[in-house]
Amino acid sequence: MDQAAISGEIEAIAEAYQSSGAVETDVRLDYPPYRSSILRHPTKAPHQVDPEGIELWAPVFGHQDVDPFEADLTIQHRGEPLGERMRVTGRVTDGDGRPVRHQLVEIWQANAGGRYIHQRDQHPAALDPNFTGMGRCLTDSDGFYRFTTIKPGPYPWRNHHNAWRPAHIHFSLFGSEFTQRLVTQMYFPGDPLFALDPIYQAITDRAARDRLVATYDHDLTQHEWSLGFRWDVVLTGSHRTPLEEDHAA
């Protein structure tokens, strides 16, 4: 299976989506061009329920759990990691724009050469002794997270012959309710691999896909130090209580 065949499948699904007139905001679970999804997606529609009890709450994380230094992935070893140093920051809100405060954000990524420290990563690119690629932080009282890291490289994978993932940072986010839990990937603007990637393209809607792409922000770039990228996250889910709704309105 080569890229042309996978791209053909991606394009056929995209055309069917466009002619359907529907609007999807989520990623599809059933997306055959991503081969590993074939046996791992539920075939039945999710059962819709009103969230209740524990689902209306989120776990609490705090300074006991997260050291502020964990937000800087470039200081975890003796020397500086290789690669383009950058800051990534953004705001986490719910669907009404209310900040998700003091909540956990976790990231993990490949190094500048596209290699993960994970033992199953067999990509023959160098490991960087000064880079692990894992960071955590808590959002501030306005919902902002801030990381300092290096730009990850694209990397090959075995979905099909000559398959490459666009550069990305994995993000894990909690909301103010269990139902808002999100695990996703942040991408970089203008990546030439976007059109070829069956994971990114599993979000069939162009506007929804674009929401995973960070924006270069020169105001976040620091003189002779690091580039700056901005990426905001919206966690939807049901609202906690009618009371809170009233306050917000």
């Binding site: 199953r120 839990r181 990937q185």
Partner: protein
């Protein structure tokens, strides 16, 4: 008030093992505690084969049914029950948590499922054995057993089938 479009999910991928699981992540309480129960089971794919690269998160109230709002899940002190934990599956697709019996009406474990090959997180509930049918969500009768844990000598067994004949019921939540 504007409604913002949600940020879509993406798969957790194959390489989360060095980043997300952590020491004692699956031990909400030490297994040696007298009131500790084990919640364990397997994650299986559409062929019934084990999924060795899945990650489950558990979120539950304490035995009194109260929601816990305490930090410390990443820095367990053996005494504080936070109600939250995380467990990766092993080579045979098995996961296990050491926790307390949840309270609530009716009690259930809320579970988030992540895996390589799974493009977005899934939510399910593991109700306790013996939960009356009329207390369960209104799912087809033949699928009810997929959201009810079975009892064993040390707690509960709950298998998760991502696909296939006995596919687990996964939930989506209504929004207003």
């Amino acid at each position: 008030m504007t409604t913002l479009a949600p940020t879509p999910g993406q798969t957790v991928g194959p390489f989360f093992g060095f980043a997300l699981p952590y020491d004692a992540g699956s031990e909400l309480v030490p297994p040696t505690r007298p009131d500790a129960v084990r919640l364990h089971g397997r994650v299986l794919d559409g062929h019934g084969d084990p999924v060795p690269d899945a990650l489950l998160e558990l979120w539950q109230p304490g035995p009194d049914g109260r929601v816990v709002q305490r930090q410390g899940s990443f820095a367990r002190d053996s005494y504080t029950f936070t109600g939250w934990g995380r467990a990766a599956t092993d080579r045979t697709g098995r996961y296990r948590f050491s926790t307390l019996r949840p309270g609530g009406t009716p009690p259930y474990f809320a579970i988030t499922v992540l895996a390589r090959g799974l493009l977005d997180r899934l939510f399910t509930r593991a109700y306790l054995p013996g939960t009356l049918d009329d207390r369960l969500p209104d799912v087809p009768a033949e699928r009810r057993h997929t959201i009810v844990a079975e009892a064993d000598d040390r707690g509960f067994v709950f298998d998760i089938r991502l696909q296939g004949e006995d596919e687990t019921v996964f939930f989506s939540y209504t929004q207003d």
